[in-house]
């Protein structure tokens, strides 16, 4: 049994690594083109929400002109409206296609990042439901047009349902031309096409219910860029009309929307029972992902714990937690006020709370501020500080992470055993997330005599813990609790954002910062020269000679 679990975990790990390598390369490529702020791969979820809004607005317009009594004719009339109807219909169609594309990227990304289990299970499952509802809603939308493709989809759907022992007569008979298709069929389609998207917004609310401050819309530049491109596509390449569905003609030629009907060429040649077996198996595998993607119990990070004696009730961890896993409760001991309580079912063990706590009273075991200080002390003992070099404090999942460097670096290993790896000659002090770095660690490094500290975080919209880079920046430069003390020389600090695939960019930033640190060291050495003493020494030397 354990062997089988190990094999499953091995397979999952290989699959994830493959996906992660693919994503890392794609991220780097898109970051170079659009910058991390406008990288559409980082905003796939928000783009879906934007596109759903576009579908809602364009759908309202189409609804005004659609007639269930003459579906094909009414859609043809809409398409014939050269100035508005044609491109609104096209925008509705292209927007729905882009939404499926964005959902696929979003789901694949989270799977490859291992963000599909534990407290994230609800988001994963509700996301799958959203995808299912989106596909079914699209199906009803295509059937509403009642052209050749619509008939193919309707007949195929009826063929699947007819193998279920719940209908006394085959549904497929409705489409053979024995009788005119009742308006009730098109009314049902229309109802579902309107009701399902409304339901989607409810599921979307569930989808983001466990995260604080969800980013529901992409940045403006990306938003207007996406809308502009889809609008241009709609105007320049509007969707045409296939011939009306005809039960007395073999549906030989049609246009196929790959995003919604990619399965049609496959399923049409399969027996309906086989389609069910494949469909249900794929669904079961996807739904069970939280089970088969979760790490072994011993590899799982433990949820945060609070040391109530140290908690001052400042609420900073409660404010910073990206997953709303922390609540403040009234104290029951002799002290007055509130203290933080972590819900282990919601905590993803990102450790962001550890960095927001000045007295270091909260965090996952091994990741609290105190644990970090112990580690950094050991680090300094192992790596004597060099005032002309830089220590890289790197997020495990970013460009300076062991997960990405292990293959390249012989010293790469488990950071818990204090075996620092290197990136271009500089030692790495690794943390699970840049948002987990307690500012005391940075201060400790600088005061120990390290030339500079380069904190390598993921890009703000690509953080596995959602808000790590944001809070890191705030704590270092904008006095957010637990802030980096003013006494720490900011010239010796730098934050750099780099995703797992951006090693060349990291190397460039590191070289640049190292130069800057060396110039600082030289300047300090020059400033330390006592000119009077130097002159006296020179005079004495001259007199002696």
């Amino acid at each position: 049994m354990e062997d089988r679990q190990d094999v499953m975990r091995g397979l999952t790990a290989k699959l994830r690594t493959l996906g992660w390598n693919l994503i890392s390369r794609a991220d780097r490529f898109m970051n170079r083109l659009y910058s991390s702020r406008f990288n559409p791969l980082y905003h796939s979820g928000a783009l879906v929400v934007l596109l759903l809004i576009v579908l809602l607005l364009t759908g309202l317009y189409l609804l005004i002109f659609y007639r269930i009594g003459e579906p094909h004719a009414s859609v043809t009339r809409i398409t014939d409206q050269a100035w508005l109807g044609r491109w609104i219909r096209s925008l509705h169609r292209y927007g729905s296609d882009a939404a499926v594309f964005a959902v696929a990227i979003h789901a694949f990304r989270l799977f490859a990042q291992g963000r599909s289990w534990g407290p994230r299970t609800l988001a994963w499952l509700s996301g799958l439901v959203l995808l299912f509802v989106l596909l079914v809603s699209g199906w009803t939308g295509y059937v509403m047009v009642w052209d050749v493709q619509a008939r193919l989809l309707a007949v195929e759907g009826a063929r699947w349902l007819d193998v279920l022992p719940i209908f006394s007569e085959p549904l497929g008979r409705a489409f053979v031309g024995e009788q005119a298709i009742p308006s009730a069929f098109f009314f049902l389609n229309l109802f579902l096409h309107v009701a399902l998207p409304v339901g989607m917004f409810v599921i979307l609310w569930i989808h983001v219910s466990r995260i604080a401050r969800p980013g529901l819309l992409p940045p403006r530049g990306l938003m207007w860029g996406t809308l502009g491109l889809l609008l241009a596509l709609s105007v320049l390449w509007p969707i045409g009309m296939d011939p009306a569905a005809d039960a007395f003609r073999i549906p030989d030629r049609a246009t196929l929307d790959v995003f919604y009907a990619f399965w049609l060429p496959l399923t049409r040649v399969m027996p309906a029972g086989t389609v069910w077996v494949f469909g249900l198996s794929a669904t079961a595998i996807a739904l069970a992902a939280p089970l088969w993607t979760r790490p072994a119990t011993e590899d799982k990070a433990k949820p945060s714990a609070v040391d109530a004696r140290l908690c001052t009730g400042c609420e900073q961890c409660y404010l910073d937690c990206p997953y709303e896993a922390i609540t403040m409760r009234q104290r029951t001991d002799a002290r007055e006020g509130v203290y933080a309580v972590v819900d282990p079912a919601l905590c993803v063990s990102c450790g962001i709370c550890a960095a927001s706590c000045a007295p270091m009273g909260i965090g996952p075991p091994g990741m609290t501020g105190r644990d970090q200080l112990e580690r950094v002390e050991a680090f300094i003992r192992l790596v004597p500080p060099d005032p002309r070099d830089v220590v890289v404090v790197g997020c495990a999942r970013g460009a300076a992470g062991f997960e990405t460097l292990a293959a390249k670096d012989d010293n790469g290993g488990d950071p818990a055993v204090h075996t620092p790896g290197t990136v271009d000659g500089s030692r790495i002090f690794q943390v699970p997330c840049a948002g987990n770095v307690h500012t005391s660690v940075i201060e400790y490094l600088v005061r120990a005599g390290v030339g500079g500290v380069l904190v390598v975080a993921c890009h703000p919209r690509d953080c596995w813990s959602r808000e790590g880079p944001r809070w890191l920046e705030e704590r270092m430069y904008h006095d957010r609790e637990a802030e980096l003390k003013e006494r720490v020389d900011r010239n010796r600090l730098r934050v750099f954002h780099a995703s797992a695939g951006e090693h060349p960019e990291l190397a460039g930033a590191l070289a640049d910062f190292r130069d800057s640190v060396r110039r600082l060291a030289e300047a300090e050495a020059e400033a330390a020269i006592d000119l009077e003493l130097e002159c006296e020494a020179a005079e004495l030397q001259e007199a002696g000679s």
Binding site: L33, E178, L233
Partner: protein, 175 residues
């Protein structure tokens, strides 16, 4: 940002947009050319075959008071035999029973024959099993029969169904 990078960014955005447009309307040939279909689709409300039995006084006494009756009956729809011949060759001969778990729903026929375009002789019959009268005790049930030559062009679909008068007819696309 260099000009090359801006141009590349624009180009990639345009390519992705074009890909969405292209994948949204891929030409698809659902069926190969050079074929025609003959569909058979109709339903028949089959008479019910009922078998009744008088309960013994002991059986009646064993029933709850509000469910006591003298006679119990089991019924199901009369089975029919479907026979399809195409160009003189038997394609199918099956006994069809009423749909539903108790077999008391109407009988339906739903078949699709794929043929080459051209002229085809089709013979279809749906006859009650056991002659009807003997088993039901009602008036004999009429058989449905059709024997017709059908001309089918490439891509045509002919539908054999029941007319309003209840006879089997061939329906074609309206010219």
């Amino acid at each position: 940002m260099s000009r090359v990078r801006v141009a590349s960014a624009v180009l990639v955005a345009l390519l992705m947009t074009f890909a969405i447009g292209a994948l949204s309307q891929v030409p698809y040939r659902a069926e190969s050319a050079g074929q025609a279909w003959i569909r058979l689709s109709w339903r028949v409300s089959a008479p019910r075959v009922e078998e009744c039995r008088t309960l013994t006084p002991e059986e009646i006494a064993a029933l709850p008071i509000h469910m006591r009756r003298k006679e119990v009956c089991d019924s199901e729809g009369l089975p029919y035999r479907l026979r399809i011949d195409l160009n003189g060759e038997g394609v199918e001969e099956t006994v069809i029973r009423g749909a539903g778990t108790r077999g008391d729903r109407p009988i339906y026929v739903y078949r699709e024959l794929r043929v080459e375009p051209g002229r085809h002789q089709i013979d279809v019959s749906l006859t009650p099993e056991g002659g009807g009268e003997a088993s039901t005790g009602h008036a004999p049930t009429e058989a449905l029969e059709l024997a017709e030559d059908v001309d089918l062009a490439d891509g045509d679909v002919a539908l054999i169904t029941r007319s309003e008068a209840g006879k089997l007819v061939v329906r074609r696309a309206e010219p």
